[in-house]
């Protein structure tokens, strides 16, 4: 599955260029070459580093808000799959 977003990568990225791909970078969806150029910029640029930290914090807070799927639901669904296997879809 090709899911990486490819972009032309100059040697050094400007803050504006980083801003355009920052969220894609933090989602792990950039190609390796662009991702390492962005990472290098974030190491050196305090403003973009803080911007990245804010998005990371937001993503982490969102992940925390994701309620786990109730175990009972998963158990019923596993039984449903087993039932399909045993008796087919009639």
């Amino acid at each position: 599955m090709t899911r990486l977003i490819r972009r032309r990568v100059p040697d050094h990225l400007s803050c504006r260029q980083v801003a355009k791909v920052l969220q894609t970078h933090l989602d792990g969806e950039l190609d390796d070459e662009t991702a390492s150029a962005v990472a290098e910029h974030l190491e050196m640029c305090r403003r973009c580093g803080l911007e990245a930290a804010t998005y990371i914090e937001l993503k982490e807070a969102l992940a925390r808000r994701a309620a786990p799927v109730p175990t009972a639901s998963l158990e019923r669904l596993r039984s449903f799959v087993a039932e399909l296997d045993a008796h087919g879809a009639e």
């Binding site: 599955m1 803080l50 937001l58 994701a66 799927v69 639901s73 799959v81």
Partner: protein, 179 residues
């Protein structure tokens, strides 16, 4: 793939879908808005998947299941289906139980409550993109399959959605004003 009803095919079906049940429930919860309807939607998806497994090439089961779920959800919006397998005696309690423990609620209750409000205030298309990627853990491509839109559309909705969340949280003094 071997047709359903065959023992080997059934085993293959179970092996393909069981690891995806958790993520399917998370996506279904976003699409349907609650755990009870989500479970029905996942069951409908599994039934359709079982019936169409002959046409599945065995690659990317998650993307295959998400596409089936999207279509099943469109049909559900047109007609309410009877519940497939839920036990009516236990359903009300489990609907109320979203699986979150008390511990989950004390990490940063103020930020989390503000985030809930901010999420609820997002336009639906932005909220779904955020829920699918940041809360259900889908890739851009998988979210695009689930929503029936292009990957670029997912990206733009997701990025704008997060931007709006930041602005709203900054307005409450919680986030986004670090610089």
């Amino acid at each position: 793939m071997v047709p359903p009803g065959d023992g080997a095919a059934d085993e293959a079906f179970e092996r393909l879908v069981v690891p995806e049940l958790d993520v399917l429930m998370r996506v279904a919860r976003s699409l349907s808005g609650n755990t009870a309807d989500a479970e029905d939607l996942v069951q409908e998806t599994l039934l359709r998947a079982y019936r169409s497994i002959e046409r599945f090439d065995g690659r990317y089961p998650r993307a295959w299941l998400l596409t089936i779920m999207r279509n099943a959800n469109i049909n559900r919006a047109r007609r309410r289906r009877p519940q497939l397998q839920r036990d009516p005696d236990t359903a009300p309690e489990e609907v109320a139980d979203d699986g979150r423990s008390a511990e989950d609620d004390v990490v940063d209750p103020v930020l989390d409550a503000a985030l809930d409000d901010a999420l609820a205030a997002l336009p639906l298309v932005y909220r779904r993109a955020v829920e699918l990627v940041d809360m259900a853990g889908l890739s851009y491509r998988e979210a695009a399959e689930a929503l029936g839109v292009r990957q670029g559309t997912v990206m733009s909705r997701l990025h704008r959605g997060r931007q709006r969340l930041r602005e709203r949280l900054a307005a409450t003094g919680l986030e986004g004003d670090r610089t």
